[in-house]
Amino acid sequence: MSNLNVPSIERTPGGARVDLVLMSEMVERGAKVLDVGCGDGELLHLLSESRGVDGRGIELSREGVNECVAKGLAVIQGDADTDLGDYPDDAFDYVILSQTLQATRHPRAVLEHMLRIGRHAIVSFPNFGHWQVRLQLLFAGHMPQTDILPYSWYDTPNIHHCTIKDFRQLCTEIGVQMERAVALNAWGKPLRLNAPWWFWNLFGEQAVFLVSRKG
């Protein structure tokens, strides 16, 4: 569930992952941020360099953690499913979950914790409603494998796939306010802002949501 392993996501000319740049732009300057599943610390590093944030991370893999700490980042070894409960309410401005939601055991509880700990949550995930995914299942009849979802069904860390539509529904169910949503196509480019949701759900390969507590 470390994004160390996220394969072939588009990068900017500067070398940063497009989804990470997009997420970092959603964060206010100087904010206090917790990155859940921070991998090798790429987003935390980007956030501290470009937005001057006070960043912390949780990462499951020992290699990822030790690499982060050796880079001077404040990262602890932990699990999104079990360790978010240790954080007090309102400890952060933003809690980020990048390409990890679909690998958690209890995505709903994780999202609820994120919005308890932080005022805002930023979640990015691969969209299982993407046309390539749909076509593979419909015509080829096997579990979809794409650039962004390269695993076989038997060795994938992803156990709770969802579509953009599913995620919006979850947000409604737990009373979360949606502030911003961006869908990226297969080339890492944001889709038209005025496109309808069904269009995003079909052509967005991944999505990034900025949500907050209602009220």
């Binding site: 020992r62 953690v65 050796a70 001077g72 602890i76 070894q77 954080y87 007090p88």
Partner: protein
């Protein structure tokens, strides 16, 4: 061999006790007007602190790293030890170009109160009687050690520490520093330690203490006066403790069931196995440099350590609103201070919204790994200090 020198009053004292009063280190003496107020309610005065320094203090005194030593360590972090003539105990980590880089930082390591290498302890001479304190020395705590270190820093004119680092009992002092003087600690590196001594660890310590006290040469703690030395008791205490510093896997890798200089068992209680011979050596060499009563006092200080109890039972309160950045490190095969203890520290620090990093290092070397060649430990300490130095503007 213990070098024994006769004293004027006809009693004999080892070289270790010479170091207790006249250490091969810098010494600051605190007079009767500057007592060390102990947790037991006793004022210790006069007293002295022996310490070593490495590197150069910068102009605004902002590059100080305080190194806290473990139970059987001392202030000789990175120089040849005056008694054993061996290298310093943390030369792997502290020195020019090392992770705790003495070309960049000014490192101070004081001998703790209650120890026997120059800071006042039971082997030191009690000025009121002119004789070694022995068991008349007051019982001390980790907080007392830290309070004494704060007095030393006040004396040296050092207001804030860039970092405090230490493993095991040294790590306890690091945590106590962060809890007692949060504004004075910019960053903290508690390694292989806990916020409280577990029942199992208290039990191990009690076995060690009983071994010392069961030695007829201990003489109720008055061995300095009676010209004896509980060598066997202290050696057995060390042998037992040493096992807890290693791991089953490390012992197996190092010794297995190999015989010592022989092909077959001798059918006796000789040290047939290599591991026996090794432990005996550990015990004997320890006695050369350590005072048995000091061992009693320092193990007691660790037993009493319970940071949560000092904060109304809630560990997070010990670190409430702490400005310190922490890097907690544990080792997979450490069964004396297992990773679960470090996780408890991290949980409390998270609950206090502290800036904390936590890394667990895979090794089979047990608790002692913090003293050994562990490249991942070095990389993490270096990276953490680099990050902290950037934040501190060093």
């Amino acid at each position: 061999m213990v070098i024994v020198q006769p004293l004027k009053d006809g009693t004999e004292r080892g070289e270790g006790t010479q170091e207790a009063d006249h250490p091969t280190s810098h010494v600051v003496a605190f007079g009767a007007d500057r007592p060390l107020r102990l947790d037991s309610g006793v004022d210790l005065a006069p007293f002295q602190i022996a310490y070593q320094t490495y590197g150069t203090l910068n102009a605004d005194r902002s590059n100080v790293i305080l190194v806290c030593h473990a139970l059987t360590g001392d202030q000789h972090v990175a120089n040849v030890h005056p008694v054993t003539k061996k290298n310093g105990w943390w030369e792997t980590l502290v020195g020019p170009g090392k992770p705790i880089d003495t070309e960049r930082y000014f490192v101070i390591c004081p001998n703790v109160v209650g120890a026997c290498m120059g800071t006042t302890g039971p082997a030191s001479t009690n000025p009121k009687t002119g004789k070694p304190w022995g068991l008349e020395f007051p019982v001390i705590t980790i907080r007392d050690m830290v309070r004494a270190q704060a007095m030393l820093l006040d004396h040296l004119g050092i207001e804030q520490l860039f970092s405090v680092a230490g493993g095991s009992m040294g790590g306890m002092q690091v945590l106590q520093w962060a809890a007692s003087y949060p504004q004075r600690v910019f960053s903290a590196l508690p390694i292989a330690c806990a916020t409280r001594h577990s029942a199992q660890n208290i039990a191990f310590h009690e076995v060690g203490r009983q071994a010392i006290m069961a030695d007829p040469e201990w003489r109720g703690g008055r061995y300095h006066l009676e010209g004896t030395n509980p060598r066997r008791g202290l050696a057995v205490a060390r042998m037992g403790a040493h096992i807890t510093y290693l791991s089953d896997a490390a012992l197996h890798r190092k010794f297995g069931r190999k015989f010592q200089d022989r092909e077959n068992p001798t059918f006796s209680f000789d040290a047939d196995f290599e591991v026996e011979s090794y432990l005996r050596h550990q015990g004997i060499s320890f006695v050369e440099r350590f005072d048995a009563n000091s061992y009693l006092y320092l193990t007691r200080a660790m037993d009493y350590f319970d940071l949560a109890a000092d904060s109304g039972g809630v560990l997070a309160n010990a670190f409430k609103a702490t400005p310190t950045r922490f890097c907690v490190i544990s080792f997979t095969s450490d069964w004396l201070f297992p990773t679960s203890e470090s996780r408890a520290i991290v949980h409390a620090l998270n609950a206090a919204s502290a800036r904390v990093s936590f890394a667990e290092i895979v090794t089979d070397k047990g608790h002692d790994a913090f003293l050994l060649d562990e490249p991942e430990l070095f990389a993490i300490v270096r990276g953490f200090l680099d990050g902290a130095a950037r934040a501190r503007g060093l």
